[in-house]
C-alpha cells in the first residue's frame, strides 16, 4: 500500500479521487498537519537550501541563555507556592551543579521508576498503540528571553540523570518541532553523577525561545532532578521579517513536485506505531502466539506474504490475486484496530474500501491524543467527532496549549459524542475553562473515570455544582488541581462506588479532615487515596481514614506535619489489612511505636516510604524487613539516624530480603 505522498493531498492523484473529492477537507486535516510539520522540520529538503541560508545571514550573534520562566509542567515534587523541589528552580543559572545530590534548589518530578505502575492505583493507557517506544511520563515547558536558532540545548541534571527523552521547540510558525529524541542506546543508565546533558540536535533553521523537555523515569532508581536548562543558538535580528520569509518559503515549497516516495522512514516526531516498528524488526518465521488476536496479528505480519506467494500458480497467466481486501470486513477491522491513530488516517488514504474501513466507528471507541499533543487542534477534534460515534474513552491530555484547541470546539465535540463516555482524561489541558467542565458534568453522566490532573487555574476551575451530576465515578483524579471543598464533598456523597481518589497538592485549599470524614461515611469502597502534601490533615482525619476497610494504597506524604499521629496509624493498619502501599514521607510525627505497628500489622505491604522520619533505628528497620514478606520498596532517604553509620548493613539487608531500599547516600 502506498504511504503518504508528500504533496498537497488535494493535488495528488495517487489516492482515490472520489474519496479525495468527497472528503477532501477530512483527509487534509490530520495528514496535512503532519505534512506541514514535516516540511517545517526538514529545512532545505527540496533544495531550498539557498533560500533558507539567506534567512540565516541576518546578522546575529551566538547566545547562551538560561530559563526565564516556566510555562507549564506536568508534575513536581513540591507544592506550588514553595521554592523547594519545584519547577521554578529551573529558572536562571544552575545553583547546585556540578554538585550531585538531592537538593531542594532543583526540580524533581513526582514519580520515579515504575513503582506507580505497580501500585493499586495504576491506570491503563487509552489507545496504547499511539504511544512511542519511549513514552513521555512528565514534561516541562520553559521559555527564554531571546529568539534564537537553536544549536544546543543543555540540561543540567544534578540527581539521577538520564530521564530526558525528547526536546521540543516552539517555532515562530506556531508549530512544535522535535529537536532530539532518545533512542534505545541513549537510555543506558548513565553513571550516578551530575552531568550537563547536551545531545546532538537536529539541524534546523527554526527560530524559537520556548522549549519543552519530555522525561521518562521508568529506568531510574530514584527521583531525577534538574537544576537548569540552557538554550544556545544564533540570534536573529529581525524576527518579523524572518517569520514572513519562513511562511513564503513554506508556500513555495508546496508548489514544487513531490519527492520520490520515502520508504517507511522512522517518523521523527516521536510517534511510530507498533506495526511500523515491527515491520522494521521483522524476521520471516511463522510464529505461534497463545492468543488468537496476536496469532492473527503475527500471521498478517509474518506469513501473509509467504502464503500469497505460495498460492500463485506457476508460470503462465495471471495468478489469482488475493489481496488484503478479500479478507472479511471484521478481520480487517480487527487488523486495523492495532494501528495507531496516525497510521489509521494514512490507511484511509489508500482506497475507498480502506477509507470505509478506517473510518468505521468501532475503531474510534477509544481515542487518545496525548501522543499527538503537538498537532492536536480544533480541526482534528472536528474530524474525529464525525467518526467517533461510539466513543467510550477519550484522552485529550496535554493538548490545546497555545490556543490550538478552542473550548467551543471541545464543548461541541463533547455534546455530540460525550454521552456514552466512560473514561475521560483531560490532564494539563490548557483550553479548559469553567463552561467546559460544566459541559462535562452535564453531558457525560456515564463517566466511570474522570481525570483532571494539573488543571490549576486562577480562579479555580471546579467551583460549581455541575460535576455533582456524575454519580457513577470509580476513579477521580484531581492531582494538582484546585477546587472548592463543598463541591468535592458533594461529589463524594454522590459517588458511592468511588474506588480511586487522587487529591495530591490539594491540601491547602481543602479541609482534609472533612474530606476524610466524608470518605469514611460515603466512600467505603475506596481502594486508593493520595493525599500528598495535605499539610493540615490531623490525627482526627487519620482516624476517619481508618474506617476505609478496602484501602490498598494510601499516600500520606508530607501530611500531618509535626502533629502526633495518636493511635491513628495503629487503627489504620489494624482495620485495613489489604494495605499494599503506604507512603509516610516526612510525616515527622511517626514514632517508634508506629514503626512497630507497621512491622506487626503490615503483612501485605509492598511499598513503604519512610523518608525523613526522625528516630528510625536499625532495629525497627530490621523488624519491618522481617515481618513484611511482600515488601518491594523501602525508602529511607533522609533518615539521618540510620544513615550516618552502618550503611553497609542496610545494603546487606537489601540483598538478603530482596527489597529495593532507597537512601540518601549515592
Amino acid at each position: 500500500m502506498s504511504l503518504l505522498a508528500y504533496g498537497e493531498p488535494a493535488q495528488s492523484s495517487d489516492t482515490d479521487s472520489t474519496a479525495a473529492e468527497a472528503e477532501a477537507d477530512v483527509l487534509v486535516d490530520f495528514t496535512a498537519m503532519l505534512q506541514r510539520q514535516r516540511q517545517g522540520d526538514c529545512g532545505g529538503w527540496f533544495g531550498c537550501d539557498s533560500k533558507m541560508q539567506s534567512a540565516q545571514s541576518d546578522q546575529g550573534y551566538y547566545l547562551e541563555q538560561y530559563v526565564l520562566g516556566v510555562l507549564d509542567f506536568s508534575s513536581q515534587y513540591g507544592i506550588d507556592y514553595s521554592i523547594s523541589y519545584t519547577a521554578t528552580n529551573v529558572i536562571g543559572r544552575p545553583t547546585k551543579f556540578p554538585a550531585y545530590g538531592d537538593y531542594p534548589e532543583t526540580f524533581p518530578m513526582r514519580t520515579y521508576g515504575d513503582w506507580w505502575q505497580r501500585a493499586p492505583s495504576a491506570t491503563r493507557e487509552i489507545q496504547p498503540q499511539n504511544l512511542p517506544k519511549l513514552e513521555t511520563h512528565d514534561y516541562v515547558v520553559v521559555y527564554f528571553e531571546e529568539f534564537v536558532v537553536p544549536t544546543e540545548v543543555a540540561i543540567f541534571e544534578t540527581f539521577n540523570p538520564g530521564a530526558v527523552v525528547r526536546i521540543w521547540a516552539y517555532g515562530l510558525t506556531k508549530h512544535w518541532t522535535c529537536l532530539w529524541e532518545a533512542t534505545e542506546s541513549d537510555l543506558a543508565r548513565p553513571p550516578l553523577d551530575s552531568r550537563r546533558f547536551a545531545p546532538a540536535l537536529k539541524k534546523t533553521t527554526m527560530v524559537t525561545k520556548t522549549l519543552r523537555i519530555d522525561f521518562n523515569h521508568s529506568r531510574l532508581n530514584y527521583y531525577t532532578e534538574i537544576d537548569a536548562i540552557m538554550l544556545c543558538g544564533r540570534t536573529v535580528s529581525k524576527t518579523q521579517n524572518l517569520l514572513a520569509k519562513q511562511q513564503r518559503t513554506q508556500q513555495s515549497r508546496t508548489l514544487l513536485s513531490p519527492p520520490p516516495e520515502v520508504k517507511d522512514s522512522p517518523p521523527s516526531d516521536g510517534s511510530g506505531g507498533p506495526i511500523s516498528y515491527k515491520l522494521r524488526t521483522l524476521k520471516f518465521q511463522p510464529n505461534c502466539g497463545e492468543d488468537g488476536a496476536s496469532k492473527l496479528h503475527e500471521f498478517i505480519n509474518n506469513d501473509l506474504s509467504q502464503f500469497l506467494a505460495d498460492n500463485c500458480v506457476d508460470g503462465g497467466e495471471r495468478p489469482p490475486q488475493i489481496c488484503l481486501t478479500d479478507l472479511p470486513f471484521e478481520i480487517l477491522l480487527r487488523i486495523l484496530s492495532y494501528l495507531d491513530l496516525k497510521s489509521l488516517f494514512r490507511v484511509g488514504q489508500v482506497s475507498r474500501t480502506f477509507y470505509d474501513i478506517s473510518t468505521h466507528p468501532l475503531l474510534y471507541a477509544e481515542i487518545s491524543l496525548k501522543s499527538y499533543w503537538h498537532v492536536a487542534s480544533s480541526e482534528l477534534l472536528c474530524t474525529l467527532a464525525r467518526r467517533a460515534t461510539m466513543l467510550r474513552k477519550l484522552d485529550l491530555s496535554w493538548c490545546g496549549g497555545f490556543g490550538n484547541v478552542s473550548p467551543t470546539e471541545f464543548k461541541k465535540f463533547l455534546t455530540q459524542r460525550g454521552d456514552n463516555l466512560t473514561h475521560l482524561r483531560l490532564n494539563s489541558c490548557k483550553f479548559l475553562n469553567a463552561s467546559c467542565i460544566e459541559n462535562v458534568g452535564i453531558v457525560c453522566d456515564n463517566l466511570i473515570e474522570l481525570s483532571l490532573r494539573n488543571c490549576a487555574t486562577d480562579p479555580p476551575l471546579l467551583n460549581f455544582s455541575c460535576l455533582a451530576n456524575l454519580k457513577n465515578l470509580e476513579r477521580l483524579d484531581l492531582f494538582q488541581t484546585y477546587f472548592e471543598t463543598e463541591l468535592l464533598l458533594s461529589m463524594l456523597e454522590g459517588n458511592r462506588k468511588l474506588k480511586h481518589l487522587n487529591l495530591a497538592f490539594c491540601g491547602v485549599s481543602v479541609n482534609m479532615d472533612n474530606v476524610a470524614a466524608h470518605l469514611a461515611t460515603y466512600n467505603t469502597q475506596l481502594i486508593s487515596l493520595d493525599l500528598w502534601k495535605a499539610h493540615f490533615l490531623s490525627a482526627r482525619g487519620l482516624q476517619s481514614l481508618a474506617r476505609l476497610h478496602q484501602l490498598e494504597e494510601l499516600d500520606l506524604g508530607w501530611c500531618l506535619r509535626e502533629a502526633s499521629l495518636g493511635d491513628g496509624l495503629f487503627q489504620l493498619l489494624s482495620n485495613c489489612p489489604k494495605l499494599k502501599k503506604l507512603f509516610l514521607s516526612a510525616v515527622r510525627g511517626t514514632t517508634e511505636r508506629d514503626l512497630m505497628h507497621i512491622a506487626a500489622l503490615g503483612k501485605n505491604l509492598e511499598q513503604l516510604d519512610l523518608m525523613g522520619i526522625l528516630n528510625i533505628t536499625h532495629e525497627r528497620v530490621y523488624d519491618i524487613l522481617v515481618h513484611c514478606p511482600k515488601l518491594q520498596l523501602l525508602d529511607l532517604s533522609f533518615c539521618d539516624n540510620i544513615m550516618d553509620r552502618d550503611f553497609d548493613v542496610l545494603a546487606d539487608w537489601s540483598r538478603q530480603f530482596n527489597v529495593d531500599m532507597k537512601s540518601s547516600r549515592r
Binding site: 514553595s82 523547594s84 490556543g403 509535626e562 523518608m611
Partner: protein, 321 residues
Amino acid sequence: MHSSLSWTSRVISRALRSSFSTLLETATGGGGGAAAKGATKSGAGAGSAGSPRPRFVSVVCGFAKDNLRHKYKPGKYGEDSWFKASTASADVMGVADGVGGWRSYGIDPGEFSSFLMRTCERLVQCSHFNPQRPVNLLAYSYCELMEQKKPILGSSTACVLILNRETSTVHTANIGDSGFMVVREGQVVHKSEEQQHYFNTPFQLSLPPPGHGPNVLSDSPESADTMSFPVRDGDVILIATDGVFDNVPEKLMLQVLSEVEGERDPVKLQMTANSLALMARTLSLNSEFLSPFALSARRNNIQARGGKPDDITVVLATVAM
C-alpha cells in the same frame, strides 16, 4: 505553638498561591508576551527617571563564639547567620541568631538560622517578593522549612531590612533580640526594640522536634516588630545580633558609626565593621566590664558582671543615592 504555625502557613500559602499563579502562564498568553512576567531579577521596571535611586554599600564582619568548634563557613558566624541580596527594586539584608539551648537535644542550633537566611536570599529573587513587607519574607522563609526533606529543627531570632529603591524607604521586621540601628548626623534616628518573653529568652521562630511542641516557645512571624522610615543619602545602618548590642554600649557604637556617615568606599566601611566586631568580641570576653547585658541583668535582679560571650555578626551599610 503548633497552631500558630499551621495558621501562618495556611494564610501564607493561600496568599502565595494567588500571586504565584502568575508565574505559570495560561497557554493562551503564549511565550512571546510572557517575558515581562519571568521570575528573575527583573523586578520593577526602571522607575521614574531622574529621582534618586538609593542603594546600600554593605559589608559584613563577625566572630563565632567558639572558634574551635565552628570552622568558618560563608554566611555564618557560629550559630549566627546573615544574608544580603539585591534586585532591581530593593536591597535586602538580614541576620538570624540561633538559640543555643537546642544543643542539649542533639540539634545543631546554627542550622535553623542558616536555613532561614539562605531561603530569604533565594526568596528575594522570586516573583512574589514584596519590597514593602519584610514580615512576608520571614514568613515565607519559615514556611519553606516545612518543605525540606531533611528535617530542620531548632529556633532563632531574625531581623530583616529592606530598602525599597522606588520610594527610598526602609522597611524592617524584627523578632527577638537581634536588631538594627540607624545613625544620621551623629544621632540615632531609629533603633529596634528587643523582644523578650523574659530575661534572656527572646521571641523566636522555632520548629520543635515532634512531640515537644507544647513545651517550646514558638512565636509566629506576625509577632515581629515592624517599622518603616525614609532614609537619606549618607545614613548609616547597622544590623547585628545580640552579641554586639549586649556588649558594646550605645555611646561607643554611635561614635564608631558616625565616623562612616556618607562613606561609599567599601574598604573603609569594612574596616569600621571589623573594628566594631572586634570591639564586641573583646568586650564580651572581658569579665569585669559592665556591659549592657550586665546592666540589664542587674535590672532583673541577677548579679552579673562582664561581657556576654556570644556569636557576633555585624552587617554595616550606608545609603548611597
